[in-house]
Structure formats: structure tokens, C-alpha cells
């Protein structure tokens, strides 16, 4: 007893199509539609570019006459260690901000606890308004007063980076969850999904593009801010930059700066891959 309609008379509905597009702003490349050389270009462009920059830097440094100070600063193993530390700072702070800001964002968008949302945003705003160096210094003093917490090294730096990137990720989480189409959620609830099932199976997957966009931005910002770790003995490429600056050795300064930029772009690229991987298929 089946009925066969023809597709031709069913025109797409403009007003309901919007609910099926992704709500993430900015460029959204429909990755699923890339093929052949376009796909290769999409994936290969950044790594190739970065390798070229690093290669050019290496060649230039290699071609310079380095004095003893520069030679000491530009030892490859040291550079690599600082890069590793730098990445660790960025990743640890991102990890902590995810486990703190995302649950808080979920909490602030639940119907029953929605009234706390303005307070939470207010706190985040305050944290964001303080310039990164100031925030770092505040954390330093805070940790100083609490004997159990170290006031130098990685820990205060990670704490400060977490605080610094807290608001963007919190805000993106809230915006992403709020932007999920209400009809989809009503349909889910009406079909008998519990509140938790609606959250995990509908809200979060649909908010992921927006949340990840925030995480990616925060991660890249943190790579830049982590250069200040130098001031607190936290290591990282900041050491290279600042020693180059203070010793007035251009090759050292440039190496630190360029490598920081390369690192930021590389992390952005990898975060982009993860974002593509985690975005549900029906949304791109």
C-alpha cells in the first residue's frame, strides 16, 4: 500500500532549511564535497607553507656568522626543548579550560539554572578585561600567598592561561548550545528522550562546531600568550625571544618569534583537522 510521490513537486522550504545548516560562523568549507586536487590543496597548503618558512629560517641562520652567544642560544636541542615546553603550556591550559568552561557553559544554559548565566558571564568578562601580563602577575601574587601553590614555573602560567582563555570558550559553549534549533530539541523530548539524552545526543553534537571554533581560537591565543612564561620561569619560546631581545642578537630574536608564529599556525592547523573530524556529517 505504498504511495510514490514525485520529487519534483516538493520544493525545498526556505524557512525550514536554515535549521539544517551549521550555526558556526566564519568560513565553513563543505569538506565532504572536496575532491582531487582541491582536497589535496586544502590539506597540504599549510604544512607545506610552514615547512618552507622553517626551512628558510634554518638556511638563513645556517648562513649567518654566529658569535659565541648566538651559538649557545641557538643550539637545536635547546630550541626543541623550549618548543616542547611551549606546546605543553598551551595544551595543558586548553585541557583545563575545557573541563572547566564547557561544563559551566552547559550548566548556564539549562532551563532551571539559566538565571545564573549573567553572573557567570560577568565573571568571565572580568577575567578577560585584564591584560594577559597583568593576569599572570595577579596569579603570581595569588599563588605566592598560598604556601601550597608554586609561584614560579609551569603551574602559575598554566593557571593564568586557563583564566585568560576561559571566557571565549565559555561564551562559545553557551552561544553554541543556545543556537541549537529548538524544534529539534522539542522533537527529541517529545519522542521520549530524557534530558540527559537530549544533551548528549542532540545539543552537544549540534553545538560542537561553535564550541570547537572557540577552542581553536583560544588555543592559538594561548600559544601567543605563553611567550610570557619566560617572566615566571615557565620555559617556552619566550625564553628565546626575550634573550634575543635583551642580548640584542637579531638571529636569536627572529628564531624565537618566527618559531612561535609557526607553532601557532601549526596548532591551528591541527585543531582545524580535529574540528573537521568532530563536526557531525549532516552539518557541513
Amino acid at each position: 500500500m505504498s504511495i510514490t510521490p514525485t520529487d519534483t513537486e516538493d520544493a525545498p522550504l526556505e524557512e525550514t532549511d536554515a535549521q539544517y545548516q551549521s550555526s558556526a560562523p566564519g568560513e565553513r568549507i563543505a569538506v565532504g564535497t572536496l575532491h582531487g586536487w582541491r582536497k589535496a590543496a586544502h590539506y597540504a597548503t599549510m604544512p607545506v607553507l610552514l615547512l618552507m618558512v622553517v626551512g628558510a629560517l634554518a638556511l638563513w641562520v645556517g648562513g649567518q656568522e654566529l658569535d659565541s652567544i648566538e651559538q649557545r642560544e641557538l643550539v637545536l636541542s635547546v630550541i626543541l626543548t623550549q618548543m616542547r615546553r611551549h606546546v605543553a603550556l598551551a595544551l595543558w591550559s586548553t585541557f583545563f579550560v575545557l573541563i572547566l568552561a564547557v561544563p559551566l557553559g552547559i550548566f548556564a544554559t539549562r532551563p532551571k539554572t539559566r538565571k545564573f548565566a549573567p553572573t557567570i558571564i560577568g565573571l568571565g568578562n572580568a577575567g578577560q578585561a585584564i591584560p594577559s601580563l597583568g593576569l599572570l602577575a595577579l596569579i603570581f601574587f595569588l599563588f605566592r600567598t598560598i604556601p601550597a601553590l608554586p609561584s614560579t614555573g609551569r603551574v602559575p602560567v598554566i593557571a593564568a592561561l586557563t583564566a585568560y582563555s576561559f571566557l571565549p570558550i565559555l561564551r562559545n559553549t553557551m552561544v553554541g548550545l543556545d543556537a541549537v534549533n529548538r524544534d529539534v530539541l522539542e522533537a527529541g523530548r517529545g519522542m521520549g528522550m530524557s534530558n540527559r539524552q537530549v544533551l548528549w545526543r542532540l545539543e552537544l553534537p549540534l553545538a560542537v562546531p561553535v564550541i570547537l571554533a572557540g577552542v581553536r581560537t583560544a588555543l592559538v591565543l594561548n600559544v601567543g600568550t605563553a611567550t610570557l612564561a619566560y617572566l615566571f620561569g615557565g620555559g617556552g619560546l619566550g625564553d628565546v625571544i626575550f634573550s634575543g631581545f635583551q642580548l640584542r642578537r637579531t638571529p636569536v630574536l627572529l628564531t624565537g618569534a618566527i618559531l612561535t608564529a609557526v607553532l601557532a599556525l601549526a596548532i591551528d592547523y591541527i585543531a582545524g583537522l580535529i574540528e573537521e573530524w568532530l563536526t557531525p556529517r549532516g552539518l557541513d
Binding site: N181, G190, L206
Partner: protein
Amino acid sequence: MSDYKIQLKELTKIYPGQREPAVKSVNMDIPAGEVVVLVGPSGCGKTTTMKMINRLIEPTSGEIYLSGENVTKADPDDLRRRIGYVIQQIGLFPHQTIYDNIATVPKLLGWDKNRINARVEELLDTVGLDPAQYKDRYPKEMSGGQRQRVGVARAMAADPEVMLMDEPFGATDPITRERLQNEFLRLQEDIKKTIIFVTHDIDEAIKMGDRIAILREQSVIAQFDTPETILTAPADEFVEDFIGSGASLKRLNLSRVRDVDYHSDVPTGTYDESRDALYNRLHASPWTAMLMLDNEGRPLRWLRATDFKRPNADLQQVGLPNTAQVEPHATLSDALNEMIVGNAGCAVVVGGRNQYQGLVDIDTIMLAIRTMRDANEDYYRAAKHPPEEVVA
């Protein structure tokens, strides 16, 4: 009491901070296998009432019974898995395939994979979508009408006994809507589910409903009855206004030619009979014209007495050709249309091979309407003084 699939007792909803309830003491008994349409002006609370049945909105007071079981305080998630739910904007999950969308409730209920696969294929077939082609598509790749069909399939997936539909065909163009309505009616003939259907369109209510509840403000029931009764015996002025003008014309949509007494004594003849025989037959009958048929009994022309009196007239040329005919399963509305458009002010009732069976004219129609009104006269009188509760 347990013959009824759904029973609402004194169902009330008062929103905090408001003096008047949004829904005031609704009492309704809904028999199994029927489509009950809740229809009323915007803001009357019809959607709120429907949403209280699956507890998406919690009632402030009152009780809900499903197959005799009091579900007012039952676990809402469990309850909703037993009730199909279709909304106007459909709400397909954009990040999941059509297969996953339809499989949602079966998965929630823990069905095994094979059973789910079979069920999804069956449902896609039922709603007219080729499973092989559409199973793995995403909602954004489908047209509006297709998404609507998937929405209905998704609601039927776990074979619920009851379905709630909130303006399910509202977001489509009139042509698609009519198709979907017709397909849905055909489907309902097979599956016979108990369906609560909310709409603001009285014509849709008349078409889709076995029973209609016309609601006023606060969902107070103005009349709860079959479409035929509502059209021929509206309970009060509110109902009359809501039906709008043309209630009788709308009523004609609900009766078929075969259900009414159409004329079957029209004089007929064939061209191999003698002119005199034909004329005498016409003269002897109370009719003013006779219908000429061919050898298969199919109507050809109308001949009047004056046509016979012209001495050299060719009977195959004079008179009027017959242009209006209807089949017995056509509605009286179709018959009226044929009559108006045709050239004789009447329509010949023809069978499957177009052979003459009878005649409908304006008298037939008026007699039919009068009969409907008379049949409802007692109810009409009682409806002028309605009792407190209206139970179907």
C-alpha cells in the same frame, strides 16, 4: 470506560503569575482508532491541551488516562516513547541520517538491530520513499515534503498506539498539503491509530477528522462531534462563526452520490426504436426530456417533446448533447459542480463503464441536505441547550 483510548478528566493548566487558566477543565473521551481534531482560534490552548497528553507541558490539575491507565504521574519519558509526536516544523535531527532519525525510538526502547532495519525499510516504503535511496541521506539533502514524510515515519517507528500531531502539514504549500493529507488518510485506513490532530484550519479538520472538538478560549469545548453533525447542527453561534459561511456547501463534501436518493426513473431510449415509441414514452412520464443511450447504455443526448414535433428533424442532431456525468463514489460537491458546469442543470449518474444509472439534479441535492438536517433535528434541539460535559 476502558473502551476509550484516551480520557482527559478536568485537565487544567494555569501558568504561574496568570489569573486565568490557559486550559480550563477539559473533559474528553477519545475512542480507539479515531482521528480527533482539536480546532479553534489562535491562543485557545489547543496545542497546550495536546502537549499535556504526553506531558511535554505538565498539567496543573486533572488526570490523563491511556488505555484505562492513569498516566498523570507516570514517568514522562516512558510515556512519550509510547506516543508518536509530530510537530509543524518537523524537527528532524540534522546531524543524523534518515535511518538514524527514524530508528530513534526503537533504539531508546532497546530493539535489536535486525528488527530496527526491517522496521525502517517498511516505514520508508509506507511513506513513499525508496529505502535504498533515502536511508543514508541527511535531512538537508531532502525537500520539505520528503522531510514531512520522514517526520511521520519517525513518529510511527515504535508502532505507538497513539499519535499526537501539531499542525503537521501546516508548513507546506497547499498542493503538497493536499497530497500529504490524502496519503495520510489512506494510511490511517490501514493502521487505524488513535490520533489527536491540532489545526487552526476548519476545512482540514473536516477533511481529516472522525470527530472534531471545536474549542473556545481556555480550550473550553464548544462542540465535540462528527464533522457531519457539526456542519448540519452547529451547537451555537461561536461554532457557526468558526465554520464560516458555506457550511452546507462543505457538508456536500461529506456525502457521496451513492448515499443519496437520486432519480432513476428518467425516460431513456435508443436510436433503433421508432420515433413514435420514443415520443409516447416521454409523453407518459412526468419528465420534460428523455435521455438517448447508445448500445452500451451510455448517455448521448437529451431530447425534449418539442424536438419530436419537428417533422423532418434528425433525432441525432436536435436536442442537447449530454455533457455532465458523475460516478456514484463522487461527492455531492463534485455533482453540484458538474451540474453547474454542464448544459442541462443536472448530471447523469454513470457506472464503471459509463453506462446510465440515474440522475442527480438540484432537487436531489436539496433533498439530501434536508434529510441530513432532519436526522439531526433532535440533536440540534438538544444542542441549543448543551449539557455541562460533552462526551462523544
